[in-house]
Each structure stands twice: as structure tokens, then as C-alpha cells.
């Protein structure tokens, strides 16, 4: 499989600048939206598993929106903008966004509910 990968890369070279640009764009969107989801979860008064479920569902919606609005949807093909669409888009920076989410979640929960 490694040999085939290498040949594939030689035939269709990857532009590193574009990959970095895309990763940065996705990370920015994730950071902003996950903090907002934290505000939402806190104001709704969600606690424990419900809050994390809220974050997962919200991130899935954001990924779908990026996929449709920014990556031309299914017609653009999964590999036009991402080397690996799973780690690049659907799971991209989920852990980094979780930090911002928990931060604003606890803050708004403390202000609004408690």
C-alpha cells in the first residue's frame, strides 16, 4: 500500500501551502463555533453527558455546513480539498474545539443557571 501511495503522490502532487491553509481555516471555524456552542449549552443548562452530546451534534452540523458551503458538497469529491476527509473535516480539531467549548460552557452555566 505504501508503494501505491508514493506513486499516487508522484502522479498527483500535493500542494503543502493549500493543505496548511485549509487546516488553518477549519481550526479557526472550529474555535469560534465551539465557543458559541459552549454559550448555548450553558444557557440551556445542560450538564454532564447532555453537554458533550450537544457539542458533538453541533460539530457535526458545522462540518456538514463546511462540506456543503465550502467544499462543494458531494460533487466536489472528498479528496479535492482534504487529503483525508475524516481527519481533515469530520474529526478535524474536535479536541482543540472541546477546550473552548468546556471553557464557555462552565462560565455561562455558572452565570445563568447556578
Amino acid at each position: 500500500a505504501a508503494m501505491i501511495d508514493e506513486r499516487e503522490l508522484q502522479i498527483h502532487p500535493i500542494v503543502q501551502d493549500s493543505m496548511q491553509h485549509n487546516t488553518k481555516t477549519i481550526d479557526n471555524i472550529r474555535a469560534l463555533t465551539s465557543s458559541l456552542f459552549g454559550v448555548g449549552a450553558g444557557a440551556l443548562g445542560l450538564s454532564s453527558y447532555a453537554g458533550f452530546l450537544f457539542y458533538l451534534v453541533g460539530s457535526l452540523i458545522v462540518s456538514t455546513l463546511i462540506f456543503v458551503l465550502r467544499a462543494e458538497g458531494p460533487k466536489g469529491g472528498a479528496d479535492k480539498y482534504f487529503y483525508n476527509i475524516w481527519t481533515g473535516l469530520w474529526l478535524g480539531d474536535l479536541m482543540g474545539g472541546l477546550m473552548g467549548f468546556v471553557l464557555t460552557w462552565t462560565l455561562v452555566y455558572g452565570l445563568v443557571v447556578a
Partner: protein, 143 residues
């Protein structure tokens, strides 16, 4: 696109602040649930009115859409598709380009160097051009 995203973001922020304020007001004016023990802290999970919940979810959706529309467009990662976009961009007017370069930066054409290769300089054509120029310039340069 900028107008759409700005409108969405503004509307989303307005609705978000309104709904969060409503949630805060609701939780601070509603008396604690009588059935719950005085030691239970969280009671308002299920008592938030439906309209506040819907307003909050709608504002989040508007903000997400606005943020995504406001972000820079993704770039194709295959060299082939990327070069095609840049090539097409050269004939597009400013502001309608597919690849927006950040301020003070240029997205260079990846095959520009092919046009400037020294080894492919047509030296005979250059020499003829020079000869024509000398002939036209007249006798004073032909010393």
C-alpha cells in the same frame, strides 16, 4: 458574500445575546422547584421555555453559517486543480478571484518558471531583433 455573512453574524449575535439574557432572567425569577430538595442545585434544565430554547438554537445556527461564509475559501490540495484555479484567476477581475491571497502576499503561478527558463531563450530571434533595431537606429550606432 461579505454582506450575507455580516448580516447573518449580526442577527445571530443579537438573537444569542437576547436568548441568553432571557434564560438568565428566567432562571433568576423562577422560584426553585418545590419538589426538589434544597440541596439540589440544578433544577432549571427542563423548565426553560420552548421559545427561548428555539431562539438560542436558531441564533447558533445563524452564527455558524455566518462564520463559515465569512471564512476564507478552501484551496484545492492537488497541484493540478490548484494550478487550474490560479490560471483561471489571472483572467478574472480583482474581487472575483477564487483564491484570495492574504494582505501583502501573492499566490504565485506554479508554472511561471516555465515561461522564464534561460535555456529556452530563442537566441536567434533575439539576434534578429537586435539587427533590426540597429538597422532602424541609423548610422550613428553602427560604428
Amino acid at each position: 458574500m461579505t454582506l450575507t455573512s455580516t448580516t447573518l453574524n449580526a442577527a445571530g449575535l443579537l438573537l444569542l445575546s437576547h436568548s441568553v439574557y432571557s434564560a438568565w432572567e428566567h432562571s433568576s425569577t423562577t422560584p426553585p422547584h418545590p419538589a426538589s430538595s434544597p440541596f439540589a442545585t440544578s433544577t432549571s434544565t427542563l423548565t426553560l421555555p420552548l421559545d427561548i430554547t428555539l431562539e438560542l438554537l436558531l441564533s447558533l445556527f445563524l452564527l455558524c453559517t455566518g462564520i463559515i461564509l465569512h471564512s476564507a475559501p478552501l484551496r484545492p490540495i492537488r497541484w493540478r486543480a490548484w494550478a487550474e484555479q490560479i490560471e483561471k484567476d489571472q483572467s478574472r477581475p480583482e474581487g472575483r478571484k477564487a483564491i484570495r491571497a492574504p494582505k501583502g502576499e501573492m499566490v504565485a503561478h506554479p508554472f511561471r518558471f516555465l515561461e522564464e527558463r534561460r535555456g529556452f531563450l530563442d537566441i536567434r530571434a533575439k539576434r534578429m531583433e537586435f539587427a533590426d533595431w540597429v538597422r532602424q537606429a541609423g548610422p550613428e550606432v553602427q560604428t
